[in-house]
Every structure is written in structure tokens, then in C-alpha cells.
Symmetry: C2
Subunit: 111 residues, 2 copies
DNA sequence: CGAGCTATTAAGTGTTGCTAGGTAGTGGTA
DNA sequence: TACCACTACCTAGCAACACTTAATAGCTCG
């Protein structure tokens, strides 16, 4: 998509990835592919890997190395307790913002 | 609010301000005050002014200097045609993101 | 005059996603 | 063998954005 999407993803992409991990553990390549399937057609692989490094360093996820039939071993990430807290906080922040924006969109139609 | 909000505002704050301007023209100080009233309690003044400079340079708004009863003259910004287009694009981008996130929030409850 | 409110501007910082490239393992094919 | 495609991960450098902090400037009132 465009530049607007790039900027809008800042701050939300992290939550999106954590939300995906809250469903079930996954590895980077898989997450990228799933995002593409869901319509985020041009999220760069490098972006996801860098993001995963960040959340790992913050202790929001646990990591396990799992051998792959095809290619190098996978790093499988799973959300831990701290990550779940962080995700809850993310949803609260998101809800606040989404409500305000919905109000603005309604209000903008007349006035 | 917290750091999550700061990051999440990147890309959306611009749309928020343009949406406010789509209702009626306004000047920086006023916009800041209105945002505070709407719950964005700690958006820095400097942030809004910098944002207004950006959107002006991109030609999304028209500017008019209006004398104030109290203090220096105000720079009153109003959304122009190009700005309206940009705002439409913003809403489309937002809608896409909001839909995906709503799906993720629903899906995350079981699985 | 000095305090406090109105109103704008500007320099420097940290976080984030993107670009562009590299490393590595496996399997298929000419 | 040599080459290519797919899987899977990593890294360095860049641009954009919101924040912090501080400065500037005009007006009113005690």
C-alpha cells in the first residue's frame, strides 16, 4: 500500500504480530506469509524479523529452535505471560484510539 | 498515556488533525486544546505545530493569518480540495487496518 | 514592571518500518 | 556438476514521525 499505511503500521504492527502469536506459536517466515495472505501485501520480511528481535529482547515472547525439513532451523516464538499483559495494554490503547476516530468520522459528515 | 500510544499516533495523528479541520477551520493552539478535551491528554503542543507545518508544505491546507484579541496573530488552517482527497485516503487506510485488527481480536479469543 | 495566558517556532532525540543486501539449507533440473 | 527456486533468518543504513525542551512574541492585569 502507500506511505500512509507505512506510518500507520508504526505502533500497530507490533500488536498485530503479538496478536497472531497469542493464537498459536509461529516463526518469522510463517508470520510474514500469513500477513501477506491477510492483505498486508507489502510488509517486508526484514521488518518482521527486526520486530521479533525487539519483542524477544523485551521479554514478551519465548523462543525455541525447531529443525525444518526444508531450509535452516526455524525460530518459533510464543507469547509468554508478560507478552499477554503487553497485548492487553495494546488492545486498550487501540480501543481508545479507534473510538476517538470513529467519533471523528461521524462528526465530520456534517458540522 | 504510554509509549504504545505515542507509537500508535504515528500516522494517525495527522489524519486526526485533518479530520478536525474538515469540520471547520482552526488554528494550532485551538486544535491542541480540542485534542486535550477529547482525551488525548498529553499530546505536546510542539507536535501539533510541527504537523501543521508539514501538511501546509504538502499543500493539504490553506492558511490565513487572523489577528487575535489576546496574543499574537493566529494561523488559521482550513482543509482544501487536495486535503480532502488525502483525508479520504486516510479513512480508507484506517478502515482496512481497523477491520484486520478487529478480526485478529475476535480470532484471538479461542484457537 | 513582572506574572500569566495566548500563540508560534525550532533543534535534537528515540522508535519504527522500509530498502537492499547477505547467509544457509534443501531439492529439482539441465 | 552447476544452476535455480524455495525455505528461513539476519543486518546496516535510511526516512518519517512524535516527543522534549526551549525560545520568541504579544496581550492583559495587578
Amino acid at each position: 500500500m502507500g506511505k500512509q499505511m507505512t506510518e500507520m503500521l508504526k505502533g500497530t504492527l507490533e500488536g498485530i504480530v503479538l496478536a497472531i502469536l497469542s493464537g498459536r506459536p509461529a516463526y518469522g517466515y510463517e508470520i510474514t506469509a500469513r500477513l501477506r495472505d491477510q492483505g498486508f501485501s507489502d510488509i517486508a520480511e526484514g521488518t518482521i524479523y527486526a520486530l521479533l528481535v525487539r519483542v524477544e529482547q523485551r521479554g514478551l515472547v519465548d523462543v525455541e529452535k525447531v529443525p525444518s525439513e526444508k531450509g535452516p532451523p526455524r525460530k518459533v516464538y510464543s507469547l509468554n505471560a508478560q507478552g499477554r499483559e503487553y497485548l492487553d495494554e495494546f488492545w486498550r490503547t487501540w480501543s481508545f484510539l479507534a473510538e476517538r476516530l470513529e467519533q471523528l468520522r461521524e462528526g465530520g459528515k456534517q458540522t
